[in-house]
Amino acid sequence: MAKADGVLAWPLHLAVLAVLLALNFVLPDYHHGIMARILVLAVFASGYNLLFGYAGLLSLGHALFFAAGLYGAGLSMTYLGAGPIGGFASGLIAGAIISLMVGLLALRTSGVAFMIVTMMFAQAAYLTILYFNAWTGGDQGLVLQQAARVIELGGIRIDLTDPETRYLTAWGLFAVTVVLMLVIARSRFGRVLVAIRENEERTRMLGFDAFANKLAATVISGTMAAAAGAAYAILFGYVGSTFASVQYSILPLLWVLLGGGATVLGALLGTVLMYYLVDGSSDVLQAWLPAWKLSHLGVVGVALILLVLFFPKGILGTVRERWARALP
């Protein structure tokens, strides 16, 4: 059976990546910009998926890791004169260090306590960003100048503010993420994470170090979120405290729930659908019921409740259960 999975899984995921690459050349301007954003956010969702979907750890504080990357890149580029590559690297390092610290502390708890501890750490970081508003710009945020967002290596000049380059960079980051997730999901490490999710006690009895595996998952997940945050800062040139707020901890949860936890493509599917649902529905609802002031709040609220009541496995989770048992 394992052999049959291998035959199908790689072509399927590579085909999806090829379609996304092709979209670069056919999408109209508006959707082209949105898709670039979605690809970066899907990296964030994939990182969340590793921890929530595969390892079964529900974090309510992933905005902290996204913000670590965002500010790691934004602050080093604003104050230390780092270029995009240096900024991205500092974002990744910040994310890795912070997720290691949070993991070491928060993984001592489990269940509800884990959710609240992660939420509290994220909230403390959000407030810290506001507290040091002289440096971070507080809720106004910082705008990264266009000149700082250009890579110059030897004779090659890559302008990351150009829409086409931006899309391809976002696509490249997402492609790396998909390959990484696919490798992890099918590796021994990924299977141990699923075993921990299903029955931690038994996994430990079988001789696996549950804490070390969960810590590794937290650090990889946090670093992926930070990569998304750093890329977001560099590609879209804005760093603001909204991205560290509770809302950005809940959004990846929603995306993964919708797309399907513990599926590699679920993170992308959920992000695309939810982004367009919020984006599209607000126009329709505004036109239809202008007096009701319907915003993303109502859409997100309804989506969360309906998903958890009637569709707890998400779209790809249900597909896998019914038709494609081997979907990683």
Binding site: L58, R108, T109, G111, S295, L297, G298, L304, I305
Partner: protein
């Protein structure tokens, strides 16, 4: 002003915060204690209480005290009804699975915010205080209404304590908390107790909001702060421990008042959120709770 009067002012402000916080956190603690679920929408019941208080007060003409009294009675009742329906329609179907209920109450949080935005709007509006006099201290005058908020909260806390420990309703609730299956076997309608407890928790948040709304204004996004502060209080005090909740509310309220006055409100919140995370990590039963059975 010198340091002494400053400290007194900070202490008084802290006591007002602590009094309202104790009521709100007690609601959250009750729901967690009996139902074993974390209600992330708790802050939105607080917000709903404040918004409905404004609506009721704006309907009543005459002396502001009449409007306030009407709000004090009507607002918790409406909020309790909303919570009861939400519990019966959504949470019951999830069979109180901890992760699913958290996701569902996050959904409820957004829905209630949307409802407030739709029917109340994005403005912040105050309710006129029922009376207005200043208690003159040697160094400064202090709002008599704020002092009566402290007294009112203490009275409501005493009533809640009486209901929980000295009446049949409280006995039934404690029995359900202690052992759900046995309670059911003894003919206690556990489902209705759960609905009632969820409604009661929401009503405590709503009544706290009605008390505070003449001081701070009603706004559709006002629920996040009381939610986080209630979490902090409930966790530091020990989950499900009534006395711990009160002590922790006093501790958090006072330190919030004093740190806000001498340093900055944001710093006070940073310290409190970090403290709670560390308490959960290193002493999960809370500072005053006993280890779980």
């Amino acid at each position: 002003m010198a340091f002494g009067p400053h400290l007194l002012l900070a202490t008084l402000e802290g006591l007002v915060t602590a009094a309202v916080l104790a009521l709100t956190a007690l609601g959250l603690s009750l729901v967690f204690g009996v139902m074993r679920i974390v209600n992330v929408a708790h802050g939105e019941f607080y917000m709903l209480g404040a918004v409905i208080a404004w609506w009721v007060a704006s309907l009543v003409t005459g002396h502001p005290a009449l409007g306030f009294l009407a709000a004090l009675i009507v607002s918790p009742l409406i909020v309790g009804a909303v919570a009861f329906v939400a519990e019966r329609v959504v949470l019951r179907r999830l069979e109180y699975n901890p992760e699913a209920t958290i996701v569902a109450t996050i959904g409820l949080l957004y829905l209630l915010q949307q409802a407030a935005l739709t029917f109340y709007g994005a403005d912040a509006r105050p309710v006129v205080a029922p009376f207005n006099f200043r208690v003159s201290l040697p160094w400064f005058g202090y709002s008599g209404y704020k002092l009566s908020v402290i007294a009112g909260s203490l009275l409501l806390l005493a009533i809640t304590w009486f209901v929980l420990t000295r009446t049949r309703i409280g006995l039934v609730m404690r029995a359900t908390q202690y052992d759900r299956e046995t309670a059911q076997a003894f003919g206690i309608p556990v489902g209705r107790v759960y609905g009632g407890v969820f409604a009661l928790g929401a009503m405590l948040a709503a009544v706290a909001a009605v008390l505070i709304v003449p001081i701070s204004q009603a706004h559709y996004l006002m629920g996040l702060d009381p939610l986080l502060l209630s979490f902090i209080v409930v966790i530091i005090g020990g989950l499900g421990s009534l006395r711990g909740t009160l002590v922790a509310a006093l501790l958090i309220g006072l330190s919030d008042g004093i740190i806000s006055m001498f340093f900055s409100p944001t710093l006070a919140k940073i310290i409190a959120t970090l403290a709670v995370a560390l308490v959960l990590v290193f002493r999960p039963q809370g500072l005053f709770g006993v280890a779980a059975r």
